[in-house]
Amino acid sequence: MVHVEVINTDDYISKLSNDLLLEILSKSSTEEVIKTSILSKRWRNVWKKTSCLCLDMRRIEKTTTLLPGVFHQAANSVTKVIQDHCGHLERCTIYHDSRQCENGMLEFWIQSLVNVKHIKDLTLENFSPGSKSNNRSNVTLDLPPRSFSHPSLTSLSLSQYNLKAPHAFLVCWNLKNLKLIGISAEVEVFNAVLVACTSLQVLALEITCHRKDGILKIDNHNLKFLYLSCSRIKGVEVSSPSLDIISIGSLSCEMENFIIASPRLHFNRNYWATGKFFPHTSYYISCPYQGEASIGHEIMMNGSNVCMKMFASMSVSVDLTNAKEVEILRQVLAVWPGDMQEVEILFKSNNAARKESESSIGNTQNAFWEDTKPFPSAQFRAYTVWLSNFSGSNEEFALASRMIMQGTVARCMIIKPSTVSPANKLEIEAAIARLKELPKGHENLRIVMF
C-alpha cells in the first residue's frame, strides 16, 4: 500500500492508497481513467497501473473526413498508451480500422500486448465504415507466425477480418477461450486454427467460408461450450466428448451434414426441427465436482453471451431430483432476454440420473417443488414447451403444473412419455390427464401427448 502525504487537507480523494484508487478506476471507462492523469502529480501515473484498457478509435473516425491527420494521431496515442502503461495489464480491447492492419500498427500492438505486457485477455475489432452489412470482412489479418502463442494469453477475440493463413495461431495451446466473429477464410484455415488451439474450453465461431464445399472439423477434446454461426459451409463435424453446451445461431449446412459425436447432446428438438428460423441451444446440465467451476454455465450467465437471443429455442437435459441441477436450469431460463420460441426439457432417465447422483454433489431430496414461486421467474415465457422422457414422477408433475398454472407456457405443452412398460403407461396418462385439468395461466394453452 502506498500512502501519499497531501498538503491540502480537504483533498480526501488524493490521499487514498494506490490500491483503492485503482479499485475506483477499475469501475470507470478507459477514457475516464486516462483523464485522471491531468488532475495532479499524485494522479499522473495511477492510470498506468490499471488492469484493463479499452481503446476505441470509433469515436474519432467521424472527424477524419475534415481532419485526416487526427486519425493518425489517435493511432499514435494508442501506441503511447500501451507503451506508457507499466502495471500488470490483464485485459485489453482495441477498436481500430483497416489502416492499422495495412501499416503494421496492429501487428506492433499485438506484439507489445502479448509478448511484452503478457496480457491474459485480448479483444481486437476492425471497424470499417460500410462493410458490416453483409458480414464480410474487408481487411486481411496477416500476422507473423505464433503471434498469439504465449503462455499468458488465454482468451482471444477477433472481429471482422479476413484470415489468409493460420500461422498466427501456430502452437496456441495457451488459448482456452477463442471467439472469431465476422471472420472469413478458407475452411482449411479454420480447421488448422482449431487444430493448433489444443486447450480450448470455449469456442464461438461466427464465420463465412470462401468456398461452399468445405467441412468444418472441431476435434478439441477439452471443449465445454461451442457456438456456431457459419455460412457457406457444406458440413460440420464435432468430436468433443466434454461438450456441455452447443449453440447454433445459423448454419447453412443440412442436418445430415452436421455430425456431433456427443450422446449427451442428442435431443428430440434441434435447430433444424424448429425450421432453421431460430437460434437453438442444447445444454446438458451437470454439476461439477466441488470447487470446480462449470465453465459452460458461466458463459451462459455472462451478460455478453452470443447465444441468448429473443425468440430462440433451447433443449436442456436435467435431473429434477438434483437440487443443484434444478437451480442451474432456473438460472439459465430466468436470465434469458425476452420470450423463448420453444423450450425442450429432457428429463434424465431414472437409471442415468441415479448413476450421476451417486457421483455428484447435491443429490439430496429437495423441497424445491413445494415452493409456490413462479418457475423460473415471473417474467419468463415460452410459446411451446416440450417435456421429453416424461415418466409422471412427482418432480416432473410439479414442474409441469407450475409452468401451466403460472402462465410460463403460452401456447402449447407437448409431453413425450418415456419408453415404459404398460403399467407405467397408465400412470403417465393419468398424470397428463391431471395436468389438463389444472387452471391455466394462458386460457388457450393446449396440452398434448406426443
Binding site: 483503492l20 478507459t30 475516464e32
Partner: protein
C-alpha cells in the same frame, strides 16, 4: 456460549462495539478468530486505528447489521451516498472516503466494492477541472506537463 469480539475505538469519541458472530464474520480481518482455538467464553478485543473514529465504525456496523452486504441492498446506501442525481456535500464526501478506508482495513470486500463504485459514479462524465473543484484536488502539474498530457490526445481515446 458464542464467542464475542469487541472493536475498540480509541480515536475521537472512544467507544467499544461488541460484535456477534453474524456481524463479525463479515470482516475479513476478524472472521478467522472464530475458528481459532480459544476459550469459547472469552472476549477478544480488536484495536481499531485512531484514524477511524467511532462514528465511522458505527456506520459500518449499521451496514452489516442491516445485512446489506448479503443482499447487495444498494437502496439503503443510495439515499445517503449513491444518489445518481445529487452531488455529495463536503461532509458526505469525507464520510464516504473514511468508510472506504475503514472497510479496506477491516477486510470488508463488499463495502469496499460499494464505496469505490459510488465514487466512480461521482467522477463519471466530469472533466478534470470539475473534479478538482468538487473534490478539492490541487492541480499541481506545470503548464508544460499539462499541455503534454493533453497533446497526446489520450483524453479522446478510451471507451
Amino acid at each position: 456460549m458464542s464467542k464475542i469480539i469487541v472493536l475498540k475505538c480509541v480515536g475521537h469519541n472512544p467507544k467499544d462495539f461488541e460484535l456477534d458472530e453474524a456481524v463479525a464474520v463479515q470482516f475479513g480481518c476478524i472472521k478467522d478468530l472464530f475458528h481459532s482455538d480459544f476459550d469459547a467464553e472469552s472476549k477478544i478485543v480488536v484495536d481499531v486505528p485512531m484514524k477511524f473514529n467511532s462514528y465511522i465504525i458505527g456506520r459500518i456496523l449499521e451496514f452489516c447489521s442491516s445485512r446489506a452486504s448479503f443482499s447487495s441492498d444498494r437502496a439503503y446506501w443510495e439515499q445517503d451516498f449513491f444518489h445518481p442525481c445529487r452531488e455529495p456535500n463536503q461532509r458526505k464526501r469525507k464520510e464516504l472516503i473514511a468508510i472506504m478506508e475503514a472497510s479496506e482495513y477491516l477486510g470488508m470486500e463488499s463495502l469496499v466494492e460499494l464505496t469505490t463504485q459510488s465514487l466512480a459514479n461521482y467522477l463519471k462524465g466530469k472533466n478534470p477541472l470539475t473534479i478538482r473543484s468538487l473534490w478539492k484536488v490541487e492541480g499541481d502539474l506545470t503548464a508544460e506537463e499539462e499541455a503534454k498530457a493533453l497533446a497526446m490526445g489520450v483524453a479522446k481515446l478510451g471507451h
